[in-house]
Subunit: 484 residues, 2 copies
């Protein structure tokens, strides 16, 4: 620990003369000191990373042992190294990714091997001079056309690695075949070692603490909904309030920012998940792509929340003199009720329980608050006009109207998210469990005016209108306009 201090001191003494080497020394030493701390944090953030690393070590070790098993080595010889290579390149973090890469590698090797053998045969009957020319033409055409196919977004998403291996194996078999008499034996060895490597990787990946991409996607989407809920629950208090517990709480609200950019990782996980067999709560043909739809709603909601957050960070908060105002109360209600609803929905999705009545009751309350606020603008304006208190109210309304409009959008998106989770639960391959009696009871107490869970769900499903969030707000405000 002394060294960095020395480096640092030297660095400071040199001051603006700027001893580059000393500055570098200090930086390097700092990095060396920080390294174990970062390592530890990396492991603590997700302990599955440590397990995964050990699993890779184990799989590579297992396949390396083939070199020491005399009969295997006698059969496969130096091509045993293909097994090691396969394990290293195929072993990925999640089962889906590993399976995808493994299947891609095996299939591509089979197909390209067969095609390469065919081309080799065709070339070998075309004479001494024709052979290299034909092979050259085929290699060029195949490499170019398959590379072009890799640009297809769908192919890229699922078969990119397979197409790469296809070019690779085709070139190896067709080109090296020129020298090698036992081309069939080589193809056989390559396929066997790749099968051994891929099966080792998949075996270790599935049977030792498996990480399922499907689980990750499921939890990612559910956690994102929860993060949006957390922001909304805290937003009202934070926006309409007072100094005191400022910064700490505000930092706590920033969890939603990760939702803004989670589209890409959701898509990747969904692609991986489609390779996975049935596991845990998820049956075969679980509608993974529906999660992307929910994820998309989450992002749309997050964009509005990001805009709302801008108002939180600005100096223009609703002035103190309307602290007691009804606007504040309704905005806070919209925010906290939709936040609670999203949290309930996140919990329902995470545990795959049918969304409990509490969620819909919170949604109803937030919608009611939104409607109240819309009519409140009218009433309070009329009252103000009579009392001459109008100017104060208008001034209050500049930020309040914007925040209220954004909150209205958010409420509409919360409704859409609820609907979308209901849809997920209604897929034929998906089984959401009914809310347990105990949970149900707590739901009922928190929203005492609603009946047993399943009845409500059916009712609401029937009454839910498929409409764009903005359209709904639009119609509501239009109605107010015409009423005025």
């Amino acid at each position: 620990m002394a060294s960095p201090a020395i480096c640092d001191r030297n660095n400071r003494n040199d001051g603006e003369n700027g001893s580059w080497s000393m500055g570098l020394c200090g930086k390097v030493m700092n990095k060396v000191v920080e390294f174990p701390i970062k390592l530890k944090k990396l492991g603590q953030d997700d302990p599955r990373r440590v397990v995964h690393s050990l699993k890779v070590g184990l799989a590579v070790l297992l396949v390396s042992l083939l070199y020491y098993v005399q009969p295997v080595y006698n059969g496969l010889g130096d091509t045993t190294m293909w097994a090691v290579i396969t394990v290293v390149v195929v072993f990925e973090f999640s089962v889906g990714a590993t399976l995808g890469r493994g299947l891609n590698r095996i299939l591509a090797t089979f197909l390209a091997g067969a095609l390469g053998f065919g081309v080799h045969h065709l070339a070998s009957i075309s004479g001494e001079i024709g052979h290299p020319i034909l092979i050259g033409i085929f290699v060029f055409l195949l490499a170019a056309s398959v590379t072009f196919i890799r640009f297809f977004p769908r192919m890229k998403a699922r078969f990119d690695y397979g197409l790469l291996i296809f070019i690779l194996t085709f070139c190896l078999i067709s080109v090296s075949g020129y020298r090698e008499e036992e081309i069939l034996e080589m193809a056989h060895k390559r396929v066997s070692t790749i099968l051994i490597g891929a099966f080792t990787a998949v075996f270790v990946c599935i049977f030792i603490c498996p990480v399922w991409a499907g689980d990750d996607l499921h939890n990612l989407v559910a956690n994102n909904i929860e993060k949006l809920g957390s922001f909304l629950e805290g937003f009202g208090d934070e926006y309409f309030k007072v100094a005191g517990n400022g910064e700490s709480n505000r930092a706590h609200l920033q969890g939603y920012t990760s939702v803004l950019n989670s589209k890409q990782s959701e898509e990747t996980q969904a692609n991986f998940a489609r390779w996975e067999p049935r596991h845990g709560k998820f049956r075969y043909r679980h509608p993974w792509r529906h999660y992307l739809k929910i994820g998309n709603l989450n992002q749309q909601c997050a964009y509005r929340i990001e805009t709302l957050n801008g108002y939180l960070n600005s100096e223009i908060q609703t002035p103190l003199n309307i602290q007691s105002n009804k606007v504040q109360e309704l905005c806070m209600k919209m925010s906290s009720e939709s936040g609670k609803a999203l949290k309930e929905l996140a919990w329902a999705l995470k545990t795959m329980t049918e969304p409990c009545a509490a969620a819909s009751s919170h949604i109803t309350k937030s919608r009611a608050a939104a409607n109240n606020l819309t009519s409140m603008f009218r009433t309070s304006a009329a009252a103000a006009a009579g009392e001459g208190g109008y100017q104060v109210r208008l001034q209050d309304m500049v930020p309040a109207v914007t925040v209220a409009s954004l909150l209205s959008d958010v409420v509409a998106y919360a409704e859409q998210i609820e609907k979308s989770i209901q849809e997920l639960a209604s897929f034929p391959h998906v089984q959401f469990k009914s809310a347990e009696p105990k949970t149900l009871q707590s739901c009922n107490t928190s929203s005492s005016n609603v009946g047993p869970h399943h009845v409500i769900t059916m009712d609401r499903l029937a009454s839910l209108q498929v409409q764009e969030p903005h359209k709904e707000i639009g119609t509501k405000l239009q109605r107010v306009s015409s009423a005025i």
Copy 2:
């Protein structure tokens, strides 16, 4: 073309009896017919894809020829295939990606080869039984620890492939060394072939129609600014519009949506660009990371625009009776002026010309409109209170205030984007050309009250205050509040 029609007809005739095979047949035939159309579109969307595919074909062909050059084949033997493999796996779309992968592969092979040889030597002096045990321990530890290091975000971004190849080569050299007496020769051959492959790939990639990741990043960020500008230019007309030119124009405005999710691709391109040597307008050590800063502002702006777009799609547009209203005029001015400013800035960034005076003049105008609108709310309110026309105005204000607030945010972000481009131009390794006299003249005519370009830039740079967009709006509105 007849077959899909037949399939389709059958499919329809079977109706709900659902002949699965016929449905499948129709789908497959459709895909076969669509395939060439999609291929053509893929090539037309970006012709560089076609060139890239041909380049890959050429590079693979070149390196395959090694098999037919007797002296090379005599020297390298079957390991020549490593050269083919290297070309296939290293050749990427952009120069930066290819260089990154090539350097990763070469460096990792060198280092892992040396380490593998050391471990092999250490193991070989530890006796017949100790050898495999020691090798096993080392392989396990190295594979596990390097796999864990791959989780570091920074390592993943730039050295992921190198770390993979490090594990691979280490295992190959240390494990296969047990059987192979000529381990040094093997290491030598592997390094030579990988060097040959990597150099072939890099050579073809750089010297035949190179695609620079830096150029792509530069253009991506500039185009994103332009897309935001296009939306804003069209938004005013579309929102306060006139029936007639509805749907078509609206679709035209949706270009900005790609900005919402471009963060990931910007980061990837920036990582690639850092591998590239100086090229075209870009010197060595061009501040690629600064583009991420501009990109981030673009995204923040796009989130607001996405919210604005929601109001465009809703039914609640400002009622016709205020078509002549000043609110409309100012909102349109804010929108169109900030749109024009962003387009000017996009042009300046794309051509690396110092932002011309027109951009700042548009920004000034949009800011002035924002300020006017803020005071307008006050004035018109006061007037309304006197005239009793208040209710109509409040009703108009519910959507107008929200849109105006959002546009205010957007104007503030446009200011930030301008500042950030000025910052880019002021980096020591960056050279923006001065606006040409002709351009300057056009700038001056479009904003006749401002002096020659460079003077303004300096003035504005000096007068630009570093402040959060929201803070500024906040302060302005606060001022209005206290004025009221």
